[in-house]
């Protein structure tokens, strides 16, 4: 495992800063903790920041506390994990209350999930009490009625985003699912609804079956694939969104090394989120990737902003 975490980008040259301004917020670097990974408590968010994350996203929060799906919740596959957590969370009020007492040390996005525009609006309002930005989870592939169930219909997405935007002064991000042939349409709908940016991608639908017991491994039967296996899917999604949208894109999916990070930035991401790599690497992955990214920028004599979308030049 650890071996895949090592940088393959050359690391000569002087370190330059990767601090960045985005969505009206300041980040010490563009590497954020992805939703649902470690960020189930404010303490988890703070750990990620202490380990170098430039920003963090909370576990997706709903109106009520949820225990999540029955176990197994996670199973390893080639180059990734399948998970079906089932959006366990203590409820938006509970989490917001707890978060308001903690100094996380970097901007916090509250991720929220709901069934309809009104729920999203209400969640946004409550979560705005302690967060610096809102991320609408329109893309969880393994929760009924919420998640990608609401995230594959452009009209609904536009209404959800616009209601959420009305409910807060904070920047609102829409997190998109790759399990569709219309990701750019959905991104555009989010943009029309007033999203300050989009986040791509959530996990890819998948499942694993145990051949000896002949049973699906996950308690929920199906789940979402994350990690290096989906990195090419993320690169493609970000690349396509960059062509079709004008708001900033935050890239997620299989970021583990400076190289995988640079790839997503070249595709068009202004910032990145890291999920699975906090398990497959050490938590220092934020600092390690940041260091490699800084060295890359210095070596290429480019600013982070210059790098965004550079693979599109023609």
């Amino acid at each position: 495992m650890a071996s895949s975490c090592r940088a393959t980008v050359k690391t000569v040259g002087n370190r330059t800063g990767t601090s960045t301004k985005l969505l009206g917020l300041k980040f010490t670097n563009p590497l954020f903790l992805a939703s649902g990974v470690m960020g189930t408590t404010p303490g988890g968010l703070k750990s990620a920041v202490d380990a170098g994350a430039g920003g963090v996203v909370t576990k997706s929060l709903g109106l009520e506390a949820r225990k999540g799906h029955s176990s197994p919740n996670v199973v390893g596959v080639d180059c990734g994990y399948l998970n079906a957590m089932g959006l366990p969370n203590p409820g938006v009020e509970y989490f917001t209350e707890e978060l308001s007492k903690v100094d996380v040390g970097a901007p916090v996005f509250a991720s929220i999930f709901g069934e309809d525009p009104d729920q999203f609006a209400k969640l946004t309002e409550i979560a705005s009490g302690a967060a610096d930005g809102i991320e609408l989870n329109l893309s969880c592939p393994h929760a009924e009625k919420v998640g990608s169930a609401v995230g594959t219909d452009p009209d609904l997405v536009e209404r959800i985003v616009s209601k959420a935007v009305d409910a807060t002064d904070l920047p609102v991000l829409a997190k998109l699912t790759p399990n569709t042939d219309r990701i750019v349409d959905i991104g555009r709908a989010a943009e029309s609804g007033g999203a300050a940016g989009v986040v791509a991608i959530n996990t890819v639908s998948g499942m694993a079956i145990d051949v000896e017991t002949k049973r699906p491994v996950l308690g929920n039967v199906t789940g979402g694939l994350s990690g290096r296996a989906i990195h090419p899917v993320a690169v493609k999604a970000v690349y396509d969104l960059y062509e079709g949208l004008s708001v900033p894109i935050i890239g997620v999916g299989g970021v583990e090394t400076p190289e995988t990070a640079v790839e997503l930035i070249l595709a068009g991401a202004s910032a990145l989120q890291i999920g699975t790599a906090v398990a497959t690497c050490e938590l220092s992955v934020f600092r390690d990737v940041d260091r490699g990214l800084a060295e890359y920028l210095s070596q290429e004599d480019l600013s982070l902003e210059d790098l965004v979308g550079l693979a599109h030049r023609n």
Partner: protein, 259 residues
């Protein structure tokens, strides 16, 4: 991550340790090679997957010593030789190797990982074992670990009360450097206080809800510490820094619950 898929194993042997505690033995080379204190995720198809410490190994076999608590542990208690169960792991960070005289302090099924620790003690350091339980019949591995003192909540054997009440007496006459402990969190908390006041070192194996075991999901956090990946064995300094340890645990939804 390919390793983080359950391996299906047949139960090779079972043994009843107490009215509520059973040991199962599986042929499973990866966990048989684990460090004491590491754990595995055991999967009972159609029931669930739970974290269980490795309680001993022999050649390529591993043992797990499991208290009957709820749904999944009850399913495991129903397994007989030849029945199938899934295993993934070993996971987490185990105990260090003892380098001087040490005390083993186990409460309830917490004795399980300490039994493997005891089995694995290849250095010649003297280990003094203290074991507590609710009643005489629930005392685990007393003979195997050559326990010096036992205690029971109901007084049915040994000291009547908590095992923590006798630690200081035991330490008096002895040149002990360190306590290795696992069991109920209040017991560990008390051991921590004793170690701090006496300048001893300590390593404790902790428990939280563990849904992934690999450091992904955050269900096992104490403050911002992932018990599954960065623990479950933690040292004194780390333990002492926690604000939640000994006071709060988290339910499956992430809500705090008093311990």
């Amino acid at each position: 991550m390919g390793n983080d898929k359950p391996r299906i194993r047949e139960v090779a042997l079972t043994g009843q340790e107490s009215p509520t505690v059973k040991t199962i033995r599986l042929y499973d080379p990866p966990t048989s090679d684990a460090a004491p204190g590491q754990f595995a995720m055991l999967w009972v198809p159609d029931s669930g997957e739970i974290p269980i410490a490795i309680s001993g190994t022999e050649e390529e076999y591993s043992e797990f010593t499991i208290k009957h608590r709820g749904e999944t542990t009850s399913e495991i208690h129903d397994l007989g030789v030849g029945d199938k169960i899934g295993v993934r792991g070993p996971y987490g960070v185990g105990f260090s190797r003892p380098t001087g005289p040490a005390v083993i302090l186990g409460g309830g099924y917490g004795v399980a990982p300490l039994r493997y620790f005891y089995q694995s003690n290849s250095s010649n350091v003297p280990l003094t074992t203290l074991i507590g339980a609710t009643s005489a019949e629930e005392l685990l591995f007393v003979d195997e670990l050559d326990a010096e003192i036992v205690s029971t909540d109901d007084g049915s054997r040994g000291h009547h009360g908590y095992i923590t009440e006798v630690i200081e007496d035991v330490l008096e006459g002895k040149d002990v450097e360190m306590i290795y402990t696992a069991g109920p969190e209040p017991m560990i908390l008390r051991a921590l206080e004793i170690c701090k006041s006496r300048g001893l070192d300590l390593e404790a194996s902790l428990e939280r809800v563990m849904k992934c075991g690999v450091g992904l999901c955050g269900s096992c956090l104490i403050d911002g510490f992932r018990v599954c990946k960065d623990g479950p064995v933690v040292g004194l300094d780390q333990l002492d820094e926690f604000s939640e340890f000994g006071r709060w645990t988290r339910t499956a939804s992430g809500k705090k619950e008093p311990i």
